[in-house]
Amino acid sequence: MSRPGNRPGRDDAPDRLYTLTQGRTRTGPDNPFDLVTLVVAESEPVTGMQSEHVAILKLTRSPTSVVEIAAELRLPVGITKVLLADLLAAGRVSARHPHRPAITDPDILEQVLVGLRNL
């Protein structure tokens, strides 16, 4: 459920978010992250690392979606994607992207159905 008055980013001054990403909010067409891209840490946090990067590396010790990372960090999705792009470029995380053709593949859809029926 939502946390009234405590939504991610909402209570933060825009300047704080601006500082987090050195002013970058447009992740651009080259940003590969989707809401449901699963991110996996490839290294442990090191001393001196930006605290948001540390939090992401801890969260992603198990595969974690971009949208879950944003929710846990209480940051807007766009800001989260910028932070993730930095970590990806540095080789500190890897990304498991959604496979777009899968959503029209009858075999994959059958596997999704099996999963739902087994709930």
Binding site: T25, V36, P98, A102, L119
Partner: protein, 208 residues
């Protein structure tokens, strides 16, 4: 501040590598979050995105102070389907002013559930119109609010629904009922793509 939510986290298995999206769309108070909660394996989480009305992410977050950007909050839940597949359910506001969220955020969605309160059926027209325009497969689920049940044919007519679009009743509070809604949707999507002739006649999903 972070520890309170992190303690309750249920991590995915290490082999999870395929994320899928289904969007639950509908008017205010129709039960989107209730439906997400009833089938989700995690307590629904809430996050937000800041976007301009034109649909592009803002260039500069300082514009948030002006009128050029809008912040849209949405809820989501998660279902692990098997060792590799994870389905995310998004509860999206269906009002016209939020629709730009769709184009960017929910591109590549498997399909959509339009959740309808039959007492306020007009709230659903815009969402259905946009889904048809996008070529996104969808089902319509009438949430049971305990009032008089309207006949399926009457609802179908009121919404001007294509005969092929499944129309079902549900109780968003019930896990089993929510599960059936999702199964109906995925079966509908599968039928649609399994039939090459039907496929050819359908508009392409613009954002796939």
């Amino acid at each position: 501040m972070d520890s309170a939510t992190s303690e309750a986290r249920t991590p995915l298995g290490a082999s999870a590598d395929q994320g899928f999206k289904i969007v639950v769309v509908g008017g205010f108070g129709v039960g989107k979050t209730t439906l997400v909660r009833s089938v989700s394996e995690i307590r629904p989480l809430n996050t937000e995105e800041t976007m301009t009305q034109a649909g592009a992410t803002v260039d500069d977050i300082r514009q948030v102070r002006g009128k050029s950007a809008t912040t849209v909050a949405f809820d989501f839940g998660r279902i692990s389907l098997d060792a590799r597949k994870v389905l995310y359910l998004f509860g999206a506001p269906g009002q016209e002013r939020f629709w730009f969220l769709w184009d960017r955020l929910f591109s590549g969605t498997l399909g959509a559930v339009v959740l309808v309160d039959t007492r306020r059926i007009d709230d659903s027209w815009y969402a259905i119109d946009r889904l048809e325009h996008h070529g996104t497969p969808f089902v319509v689920a009438c949430n049971d609010f305990g009032g008089p049940v309207r006949a399926g044919a009457e609802v179908r007519e009121a919404l001007d629904l294509d005969p092929q679009v499944p129309l079902i009743d549900c109780d968003a509070r019930s896990r089993e009922s929510g599960k059936q809604v999702l199964i109906t949707l995925v079966q509908h999507v599968k039928n649609r793509y399994a039939d090459p002739s039907a496929r050819a006649g359908l508009p392409r999903q613009e954002f796939v």
